[in-house]
């Protein structure tokens, strides 16, 4: 099977609110597609439709080769779902949670127990297996949630904001575990608000905004859309800015711009090494005091802000996160 998830013109309306309109998606088997967008952009609605939890009213979609509206049972046999809020039973232990799902997935009692032990080991939950899931840390719950979504060895995995609210090290552990699944051939559809998560996990990214797919591509392609690298110069003294601007204009591709700090200059350069050297020499010649001098690449933040119409972050996106 080449295409694991395919959606054409998917639409969903709630009353007079068009939650989703004309979304097209195509995910090749064994790859990760990231749906990136702010709250309310339609990411979760898309996942819920593809996971047969919600009916759509326009278009059609196939998951693992079956139509999500007509062959729900066949789709459900082949998918795993890990939700936004870790969907585990807090009163049951980790082991009981997994065994219960194994039985519901018709693995039989023995099969459910065997699969549970396998997953507890794979997700490093063995030592906590007999504690109620309600006592787990955030990272452990997400791991249990992910393990729970994998009981039936699904070919397609839906991860709806899998690391929201996790600390950085738990997030990294979970990312590695998702990557392991992909390495074993699982197709993943991931929704996220974290640009670095999409960058780290996804082969391709679809940027969502107000119920529509705004752009699609690999992380690099999307970054390229925003533009190439630029030079960023921070001056010690704002009064020196006009002076520096005219000096830089001579070596730049486009007119240098000052951002809203009033002393940071962005310059697009045409010819990399020479232009960097020329810029440095030009600033040296006029004798302004430079605090920072660095090449910047666009981040997914820049892509995101540009496409969703929010303020362009430029280099300050790093701090806005």
């Amino acid at each position: 099977m080449e295409i694991a998830i395919q959606a054409e013109g998917l639409g969903k309306r709630y009353g007079d609110h068009q939650a989703l309109s004309g979304v097209n998606l195509e995910v090749r088997s064994g790859t990760v597609l990231g749906l990136l967008g702010p709250n309310g952009a339609g990411k979760t609605t898309t996942v819920r439709i593809l996971a047969t939890l919600l009916d759509h009213d326009q278009g059609h979609a196939r998951v693992a080769g079956f139509d999500v509206a007509r062959d729900q049972l066949e789709v459900r046999r082949r998918i795993g779902l890990a939700g936004q809020y870790a969907a585990v039973d807090e009163l049951l232990t980790g082991r009981e949670n997994l065994t219960m799902l194994g039985k519901l997935l018709k693995l039989g009692k023995r099969g459910a127990v065997a699969r549970t032990e396998e997953l507890l080991a794979a997700f490093e939950l063995e030592s906590a297996a007999d504690r109620p899931a309600g006592t787990y840390s955030g990272g452990m719950r997400r791991r249990l949630d992910l393990a729970a979504s994998l009981i039936s060895s699904p070919t397609v995995l839906f991860l709806d904001e899998p690391t929201t609210g996790l600390d950085p090290s738990s997030r990294m552990v979970l990312w590695q575990m998702v990557r392991q699944q992909v390495a074993q051939g699982v197709t993943v559809l991931l929704t996220t608000q974290y640009l670095e998560e999409a960058d780290f996990l996804a082969n391709r990214i679809v940027v969502f905004g107000s119920g529509q797919a705004l752009a699609e591509g690999t992380p690099d392609e999307l970054k390229y859309k925003v533009g190439g690298e630029w030079l960023e110069i921070l001056l010690a003294n704002p009064q020196a800015v006009p002076h520096a601007l005219s000096a830089l204009a001579r070596v730049a591709m486009a007119a240098p711009v000052v951002d809203d700090t009033g002393r940071r200059i962005h310059v697009q350069l045409n010819n990399r090494m020479n232009a960097i050297a020329a810029s440095a020499a030009a600033l040296e010649a006029i004798g302004v005091e430079v605090v920072e001098f660095a090449m910047r690449r666009p981040t997914l933040d820049d892509v995101f802000f540009q496409l969703t119409g929010a303020k362009t972050g430029g280099s300050t996106a790093e701090e806005e996160r």
Partner: protein, 267 residues
């Protein structure tokens, strides 16, 4: 679409048993839930059957403690509304129901197992009421079969109320609202009924309303079966309490179960 899909799965027995096992584990791990459910009716038995019975007399040759017992059992049924409502709403508020719904299993299994498992606290409450009732001097005056039939009627009523709770849980979804509404249902239906006092003192219009309250016909029918019904002049609703009670319980179950299942599928 999903509601009418022919391949939505059958409510497999394995699914129901697995999920019932889940709920029973919950009950075992939160015994305070069972205790708090049983506490109100047990307190009612002590207050009505022991304290009030020393000053209350009923026409028709029945002791007050014998009269109120059927009503207390009916009240246990009414408290069942809150049990399932809270359970279903809790499941819905966590993502767990979404996970169940994404599995290739019959969707009715979720609610069927909820209500099946919640019969356990209902039966424990009734057991506690029985023990305390016998302690304060309640005695039946009837044959074993009729006594059994009385309990069957009470348990079916409790089962219907669990489904009412499932409906309430899906509609309200907010814990405070559920607590408020289920307390109101409990007070309204058990006190605006003949559960704890005969209705002969009421004005006609109110008496008619109260007599047709399902809790009234239920407690009247059960009292009758147990030989705890005072021999006084009776209206149509009281004379035919058994068929009315059985009929209204059957009607409740027949309406509530499909409504809940449809709502759960298409939510």
């Amino acid at each position: 679409m999903s509601g009418t899909s022919p391949n939505a799965g059958s409510p497999g027995l394995t699914d129901v048993l697995t999920l019932t096992g889940r709920h029973l584990r919950h009950l075992r791990r939160t015994p305070e839930k069972i205790i708090s459910t049983a506490m109100t009716p047990v307190a009612m038995v002590v207050i009505l059957g022991y304290m009030f019975s020393s000053v209350m007399t009923i026409e028709g040759g029945v002791d007050f403690e014998d009269y109120v017992m059927a009503g207390v059992y009916a009240q246990v049924g009414l408290t069942c509304v809150g049990i399932t409502a809270l359970g279903v709403a809790t499941d819905l508020s966590k993502g767990l129901i979404d996970r169940f719904r994404s599995l290739p299993m019959g969707r009715p299994a979720v609610l069927v197992s909820h209500t099946a498992a919640d019969m356990v606290p209902a039966m424990i409450s009734m057991g506690a009421v029985t023990v305390v009732g016998l302690l304060v001097g309640w005695r039946t005056d009837s044959d074993p079969l009729s006594i059994l039939l009385g309990f069957v009627l009470l348990l079916s009523f409790a089962y219907a109320m669990l489904w009412l709770g499932a409906l309430l849980g899906m509609v309200l979804r907010n814990m405070e609202a559920i607590n408020g509404i289920s307390a109101l249902v409990m007070v309204l239906f058990s006190f605006l009924s003949s559960s704890f006092m005969p209705l002969n003192g009421l004005p006609d219009w109110l008496r008619t309303i109260v007599e047709w309250n399902p809790a009234s016909s239920l407690s009247a029918a059960v009292r009758d079966l147990w030989g705890n019904e005072p021999a006084i002049e009776e209206s149509f609703a009281v004379q035919n309490a058994l068929p009315i009670a059985a009929g209204s319980i059957a009607l409740l179950i027949l309406v509530l179960v499909p409504t809940c299942l449809r709502m759960f599928r298409t939510r």
